[in-house]
């Protein structure tokens, strides 16, 4: 079993390329998630965010480029890298036939978390997310938001060095969004790790991310802190986003074409 390189950054992506047949989803993408940082990948639908996330957690095998999770390659050192990652996928598709508790027990077993720690964390998370009553329900019967909460719990159960969250807040209720935001902030600050999250909600990025990468059709168009991106483009992050992704003109035309006949 390898040990993580404590000097290495939580995540380093270099020259990543992901293709689906003829279509290129991610083109020569490079970025870093630093220790204690929440890094946001911002992009429209189909910009390549999820493909990047899936490559980081070892679900997709990229055509070229390199990914290092605290020095480990998710393709060739999958088990070592996965031990350090907590993942919340965009769509909470799990074992529908298991109850939430049975699923979390499976995750705790595979991640070799001792019973006392696992139960303490489960108790805290269940209370915070108010899902004590749903723990024995089959996952297939849970609402989208509750599934998302279960995934959050599963991702945080082992206190990962790198949290990878694909559109993590879209199905949560306002109370849970607030708790999740605080959890992510605390996690980044206290566990000497990093957080990579993808979103197309500007508000989420503005409130949560230390740095943001703007992805457009698989290409990184801009990167920096929220202030840097605003400063280099214009007043709001939304405007900066539209300018960098060259969608400003298109948006204006679309709005005009949708006007009342």
């Amino acid at each position: 079993m390898g040990t993580p390189d404590s000097a290495a950054t939580p995540l380093e992506v270099r020259g990543l390329v992901v293709r689906y047949g003829e279509r290129t989803a991610v083109q020569d993408l490079s970025f870093q998630v630093r220790t204690g940082e929440i890094y946001g990948l911002l992009g429209s639908n189909g910009a390549g965010k999820s493909s990047t996330m899936k490559s980081v957690v070892g679900l997709l095998r990229p055509q070229s480029g390199s990914i290092r999770v605290l020095g480990f390659d998710p393709v060739t050192q999958g088990v070592e890298a996965k031990r350090l990652i907590g993942y919340v996928p965009e769509t909470p598709l799990l074992f529908d036939a298991l109850s939430a508790k049975e699923f979390l027990e499976f995750v705790a077993s595979v991640r070799a978390i001792d019973a006392a720690t696992a139960n303490r964390r489960l108790e805290n998370f269940a209370k915070a997310f108010q899902i004590e009553a749903e723990l024995h329900q089959p996952i297939g019967l849970l609402s989208m938001g509750t599934r998302q909460k279960v995934l959050f719990m599963a991702a945080l159960l082992h206190r990962p060095k790198l949290l990878v969250l694909d559109e993590p807040l879209h199905a949560l209720d306002p109370r849970s969004v607030r708790i999740a935001r605080e959890l992510l902030r605390q996690h980044a600050n206290s566990h000497a790790g990093g957080v990579l999250l993808s979103t197309h909600a500007m508000e989420v990025a503005e409130r949560l991310c230390d740095r943001v990468g703007i992805l457009d059709r698989g290409v990184l168009r801009g990167e920096g802190t929220i202030a840097e991106l605003r400063g280099s483009a214009s007043a709001s992050l939304e405007e900066a986003f539209l300018k960098l992704t060259r969608e400003e003109e298109g948006v204006r035309e679309a709005v005009l074409s949708l006007g009342v006949d």
Partner: protein, 559 residues
């Protein structure tokens, strides 16, 4: 064609591609499709569904043609020389029709999760299309999953029966029976599917009583599979019983059989050919029973077919109506990774009939034959033969269905692949499940048959000698499947996606488990000890070869 059916047909053509795509790649069950262009993914999915339907159809055709051989005069002379020809023909044809019902029912249970999880209906419901058109589209979609198998039953049965009985009219007379078998098979799979949604899939976890109840329901689900098994193993017994009933003149029992489904419909060819359904001088009573029974079952078939028009839509819209039970214990009990895989699989199987069936079949087989050992064997050495046959069957069943345990991984597949679960843990977990199944089944036979067994220590030796072969077979199968899944990025899933691979991998596995059994049969003529010695040596050699092949390099590789 009415506008409703026209619209339904148009909708179903589009929706079927989505259904095929979901059935093969199980995206809504948590899998990631291979990185291919959308068009080629859809084409591949449609092709694989077609291949699977062809496979099921070929199997049905094979069974029907086999029955045609049994229907011939030569087989009758050998199997039931004293039984009246009409009764013999009716019994064989009724067995075939029951088998068709059971096979379609069982296939339906396998396919139903793909149909329900595809979520095609909620998508169609959102369109500005009348409900009736959507319901009809759902019916066509469900039918489309069974079109080739259903057509095979309806087309091949009359040809085979007509040819075997030497009359085209006899062949035509079995068409109502074949149609009713198809309708009943599909209706049963939908009706039990509804039941499954409410009581099995929708059942909450947390209590021992709930778990026991779920497994009890699942035992009921194995009944169709046992019909197939019963056809092969109990068919000759039934014919023998019919012979003795006829000889003893027990008319009441015979009338009861004639009134039972599917005898009235299976009797129509005999009635048409000879004007009799039992013996020549039986009078009009049996004929009246067959005619009235035929009319009753015909009406039920009609009613079931009408119900089928709306049932697929209603089922796809119904949510699993589970209700929260009393939460008894919320504590997590983390285990070692291979053990966690076993517990997860058993829990999933307790809410998934397809997987429960795989676990229950060898066990129920062992119990059934074990009980038979005690009750029926005339001598102690006869009991040894029956018991060893039961253990051999359990070994072969466990290894034949072993690869299907890998199919459980299709659920939540992409999420599991983000966990640090090694291939070794996964394979060892599944291996433990297969070998435990064998051990429990064999132990059950030993327990039940202990009173009648000749030299129980020799029998224990037989069970232990086969154990390494079962482990070797399971390792070989699982090792190959892990490699296939890794290379193709495809979960080896249900009947409609990975059947070719699962069957392909099962063949060397079953051979591996079967070779020591065959060698025991050969060498026991020298002495039982020699037979057991050869069996154990070969089984251990197989394990020594299979284990490194299956586990090499798997400890550090993610599952």
């Amino acid at each position: 064609m009415s506008p409703t059916w026209k619209e339904a047909y148009r909708l179903h053509v589009v929706a079927f591609t989505e259904l095929a795509y979901q059935a093969i790649y199980a995206v809504r069950q948590g899998n990631l499709p291979p990185t291919l262009a959308a068009g080629s993914l859809a084409r591949k999915a449609r092709r694989r569904v077609l291949q699977s339907k062809l496979l099921v159809s070929l199997l049905l055709a094979f069974i029907t043609i086999g029955t045609g051989v049994v229907l011939g005069t030569t087989a009758k002379t050998f199997l039931a020389p004293a039984l009246a020809a009409p009764l013999y023909d009716e019994t064989v044809i009724a067995g075939l029709l029951l088998l068709d019902v059971a096979f379609l029912w069982w296939t339906g249970l396998q396919v139903l999760p793909s149909y329900l999880s595809s979520q095609v209906l909620p998508t169609l419901d959102a369109l500005p299309v009348p409900d009736r058109s959507v319901s009809r589209a759902a019916f066509l979609l469900f039918l489309r999953l069974f079109d080739l198998p259903a057509l095979t039953v309806i087309a091949v049965t009359p040809i085979v029966v007509g040819r075997a009985l030497g009359s085209a009219w006899a062949g035509l007379a079995i068409i109502p029976g074949a149609v009713s078998a198809v309708v009943f098979g599909l209706a049963l799979s939908l009706a039990t599917g509804k039941f499954f949604l409410r009581h099995v899939q929708g059942a909450t976890g947390g209590s021992r009583r709930g778990t026991v109840l779920r497994w009890a329901y699942l035992v009921l689900w194995t009944i169709p599979a046992f019909t197939m098994y019963g056809y092969v193993s109990l068919g000759p017994g039934l014919i023998g019983w019919m012979t003795s009933v006829t000889a003893s003149g027990a008319g009441g029992a015979l009338d009861g059989i004639l009134a039972t489904y599917p005898f009235p419909l299976a009797s129509l060819p005999s009635l048409l050919l000879s004007g009799s359904v039992t013996v020549p001088d039986a009078g009009l009573g049996p004929i009246a029973i067959v005619v009235v029974g035929g009319a009753v079952y015909g009406s039920i078939t009609w009613a079931a077919a009408s119900w089928l028009l709306d049932a697929p839509g209603a089922l796809a819209r119904a949510s699993a109506g589970g209700h929260a039970g009393v939460v008894t214990d919320r504590r997590l009990v983390p285990r070692s990774a291979p053990f966690a895989v076993i517990v997860k699989d058993l829990r999933i199987a307790s809410r998934t009939p397809g997987f429960a069936f795989i676990i229950l079949l060898p066990l129920l087989d062992a119990v059934a034959i074990g009980a038979w050992t005690v009750l029926a064997a005339p001598t102690a050495s006869g009991a040894f033969n029956i018991a060893s046959a039961a253990v051999a069957t359990a070994a072969l069943l466990a290894t034949f269905f072993g690869p299907a345990f890998f199919a459980i991984e299709v659920m939540g597949y992409s999420y599991t692949r983000t966990l640090p679960l090694t291939e070794r843990s996964l394979v060892l977990g599944k291996l433990s499940l297969v070998t435990t199944l064998y051990a429990v089944a064999a132990g059950t036979v030993l327990g039940i048959g202990l009173a009648r067994l000749f030299e129980p220590l020799s029998f224990l030796g037989f069970i232990l000698a086969e154990f390494p072969a079962v482990a070797a077979a399971a390792l070989l199968e699982l090792g190959l499947l892990v490699r296939v899944a890794r290379r193709r990025g495809l979960p080896v899933t249900n009947l409609y996606s990975g059947s070719w691979w699962v069957m392909g991998v099962s063949i060397p596995g079953v051979l591996m488990a079967g070779v020591p059994l065959a060698l025991f049969e050969i060498f026991r003529s020298v002495s039982v000890t020699t037979g057991l010695g050869v069996m154990a040596a070969v089984a251990l050699a197989e394990l020594a070869v299979a284990a490194p092949l299956a586990l090499a390099g798997s400890s550090g590789r993610g599952a």
